[in-house]
């Protein structure tokens, strides 16, 4: 499965990165490729490309903020959780997201 993620938190320095790392790690464990865009204090890092978004099976928003440039994801299957959810249990977040497909 191709899974994408977007993470953000109010300060945009710690939770954003931790959640991104947790999603990638949980994806590896379950055998899925996961790429995560971080919308932190420095702007958008590791930006998801148009092609990646088009090919993705599901997109996980682990966000505490408005998703920047949200219209890129129009029509995609989106699973929205708080930014702390993947930090606590990344595997469960990915499993739940895959149930939406």
């Amino acid at each position: 499965m191709k899974i994408l993620g977007v993470t953000s938190c109010p300060t945009g320095v710690a939770h954003t990165n931790m959640a991104a790392k947790a999603l990638v790690k949980a994806g590896e464990k379950l055998g899925h490729t996961v790429k995560v865009e971080k919308q932190g204090a420095l702007g958008i890092q590791n930006r998801l490309t148009k092609e990646e978004i088009a090919e993705a099976d599901v997109i996980i928003f682990a966000v505490e903020q408005k998703v920047r440039e949200e219209n890129r994801f129009k029509g995609k299957v989106i699973y929205k959780v708080s930014v702390s959810a993947p930090i606590k249990n990344g595997v469960k977040v990915i499993e739940d997201a895959l149930k939406l497909i």
Partner: protein
Amino acid sequence: MKEFLQDLKRHILTGISYMIPFTIAGAVIMGIARVGAMAYGVTDIWDSAHSAGAGLIPFFHTLDGLGGLALNLMLPIFAGYIAFSIADRPALVAGFVGGELANKLGTGFLGALAAGIISGYIVYFLANSIKLPESASSVLPVFILPVFGTLFTVLIMQYIIGTPFTALNNALVEWVTGMSEGSSALVLALVIGGMVGFDLGGPVNKAAVVTAMALISENLFIANTAAQVAIIIPTLGYGIATIVGKKRFSDEFVEAGKASFIMGLVGISEGAIPFTLVDPIRMIPVNVVGCAVGAAIAVSMGAVNTIPISGIYGWLLVDKWPVYVLGIFVGALIVASGAILLGRGFDSNEADEIL
């Protein structure tokens, strides 16, 4: 309903996240002015009497005003980006103007919060309910949404919620001012400190930090002092624990401890999360006690932090910084001893799963 509230929380946090840099820039510039003025024995540099004076005093007076400029943008930015989060670009103007009106009316943070939410939903409603023929559709974003979004927002602010919110804000300010003395200050510090330590960046922590930040805009600093002391206590505490009690931690946690300590010094609370997740039943109370006691020590001994910064680079701008730092280290030592003496599972495999 639950979904709506979650979205609303996200909108408010968006507003706060855009507001934070303004608060920090303004408060630090004013802090520099204050510390600089102290070198001349001046403790009320904002007083207009200091626009003339010896040496650098007029300069510091001007600097204080310039910092205030950034600080005064707090409410407009806050309201503006709440509206932006709700209804995107067309709502920004209504939110900004509504927030500035909150400044003028004296409705404070609560009024700005209301302005942001109201303007956001008004624009959202207008954008989704007005249907124009294709050929005229551009009238909506360039004319109708900015003009009527702003007009409705300022009218509601001015004539409906202005007066009650100003009264509410004044009552709150009075209440907290009353709590700023003696034993109630201690209670306030304990509560705010404990809340910050409870879930490290979660909803309870945010409620405390946001309250503290709202009170800064009213020139009330006890809650902020308590919050800023508490924010870095767990991270520093676990860092110290992995240095002092190395044997009780797996290699991965010793590494994480070093990272946690450095994150603590620069004012990031999240380094403590992996440690807390291993043994939440024991570590959450330890965090709460450490944060509450540390905050209470700093506040009761008279430290005042006017800046929403908890990292080491803000310490010297704190009034009575030695007791402030004392509070931080006592709190951190409580967390460190709690982790070493009570913590379970820091050396297990399960722990490595979390990291």
